[in-house]
């Protein structure tokens, strides 16, 4: 399968995927803290965060200018910038890169928007294949409950309002995110994601993640990835450098 380029670098790539409200961001953040506390050099990278592209994405969203194709392309541009500057160089240096969402977000979301599956998969062919991909599987109602309970209301594109599925934003969110879940579920099987039951407690999920990380890449974390000198944690190393 030629989907994504195998990771031939010294560093390791761990990604989390799942719909909004699945709790994946909390989990990857806890995981990176844990890795850092072990002395591992960690770089964190977030979906849709390229400083070069963000003004364009903001303009497009604010004025509702996107079509499914341009929405897909601008996110690929954003991702390309992160790959070229934020993901590949640290991997070469041997760091562990933790990514909150990856190319699979586009595979699920853009296809749910009506973009051709083969086209979007080709589009991301330059991406490095993760060593581990965690998929946080959650029923729609649970996710919706978590989002509506938080400070952000449902957003236009996240709810798929551009597709005119329903005038009611909550209903539109249900239909659109439901399609995304179908895509994720199919990919989880096809591409061998580590599926985490995201209805469990935060502690249980984190414990399971750490077990899987240790089992799958524990050896490399121990011996080959970039470490803070003397095994100090990120903050510890920095404090030591200041005091020196």
């Amino acid at each position: 399968m030629s989907l994504l380029i195998p990771n031939r670098y010294k560093g390791k790539l761990i990604v989390v995927e799942g719909i909004d409200g699945s709790g994946k961001s909390t989990q990857i953040s806890l995981l990176s803290q844990w890795l850092r506390s072990q002395g591992v050099g960690v770089v964190f990278s977030e979906w849709n965060s390229s400083p070069l592209v963000k003004d364009t994405t903001r303009r497009g969203k604010k004025k509702a200018m996107f079509t499914p194709t341009t929405f897909s392309l601008i996110h690929a541009t954003d991702f390309a910038d992160r790959i070229e500057r934020q993901i590949v160089p640290p991997l070469k240096a041997g760091a562990v890169v933790c990514a909150d969402r990856y190319a699979y977000t586009a595979f699920a979301r853009d296809v749910a928007r009506g973009v051709s599956r083969t086209w979007v998969r080709n589009l991301y062919r330059f991406a490095v294949r993760p060593n581990l991909c965690f998929y946080f599987k959650v029923p729609l109602d649970v996710a919706l409950g978590r989002i509506l309970g938080g400070r952000d209301a449902l957003k236009y594109y996240e709810a798929g309002m551009d597709l005119e599925l329903s005038r009611n934003i909550e209903e539109s969110f249900r239909i659109f995110q439901g399609r995304i879940i179908d895509e994720y579920d199919a990919m989880a099987e096809e591409l061998g994601f580590q599926v985490i039951d995201a209805t469990g407690s935060i502690e249980e999920q984190q414990k399971r993640m750490r077990e899987i990380v240790t089992e799958k890449i524990g050896e490399s974390l121990e011996h080959s990835v970039l470490k803070w000198r003397g095994g100090q944690s990120d903050a510890g190393a920095r404090a030591a450098a200041v005091l020196r």
Partner: protein, 236 residues
């Protein structure tokens, strides 16, 4: 009147477009930097309008969505090749869906200064897989004609030096440092672009025009070839 043949896409069609509604003509002017494309587009527009055709002219990095973002990104020093390729593809898609297709639907002649081929050539010159970028750009409509203004590197160099007076950073491919200074990098980079465009002549059915000639001669040649579209006697 000849039967209307609907335009096709190179790859998988754009979602939601009925090409049988597109009544206009899509004409592409391609060629390397400094070959004189924009001069020709300006003159062609006047001539076509004089003949009574409504014309839309468009070109790279002019989209409402991404034009500004690309300009800003080019002013910094962090725009890497893949990001540049996809940023320009986004810009193209926005213009295709929001300017070119609506104009074709309304029966306009769309004159475009560059198309997907420059984006592809730039990616290929920077070492990316030609098949990858061709598939990415596969959502483009197949134009009625692609006029490839072809010149060799020495022609381009003399146009830059005697015309504008200075080499441009991006036109010299300085992001890749192909040579030790702007001149050397320009020469190597433009040679790569020309090689990439030459390889597209057959698969993409380019109509090649010798652009080493003076601009007037090139314009006459373009007029002659474009007139072919309108041979059917509609007016006196």
């Amino acid at each position: 009147m000849p039967a209307h043949v609907p335009l096709q896409f190179y790859g998988e069609p754009l979602p939601g477009i009925d090409t049988s509604e597109l009544q206009g003509k899509l004409i592409v002017i391609e060629g390397p930097d400094a070959v004189g494309r924009s001069t020709q587009v300006t003159q062609l527009r006047l001539w076509l309008e004089h003949m009574g055709h409504a014309v839309l002219d468009t070109g790279m990095a002019r989209s409402a969505l991404a034009g500004k973002g690309i300009q800003q990104a080019k002013e910094g020093n962090t725009l890497a090749p893949l990001t540049m390729t996809l940023f320009y593809t986004t810009d193209f898609a926005d213009r295709l869906e929001n300017e070119i297709i609506p104009a074709l639907r309304a029966g306009f002649v769309v004159l475009t200064d560059r198309y997907i081929f420059s984006i592809m050539a730039r990616a290929i010159a920077r070492g990316w897989d030609p098949k990858w970028i061709a598939d990415v750009a596969g959502f483009a409509l197949i134009p009625h004609a692609v006029y490839y203004l072809r010149a060799d590197v020495p022609d381009l160099v003399s146009r830059v030096v005697l015309g504008r007076g200075a080499f441009d950073y991006w036109e010299s491919g300085m992001d890749m440092r192909f040579g030790k200074d702007m001149h050397d990098s320009f020469v190597k980079y433009q040679a790569k672009l020309i090689r990439a465009l030459d390889r597209m002549v057959k698969p993409y059915n380019f109509d090649v025009i010798d652009a080493s000639k003076p601009p007037d001669a090139i314009f006459k040649e373009l007029q002659k070839r474009i007139s072919g579209f309108y041979d059917t006697p509609t007016s006196g």
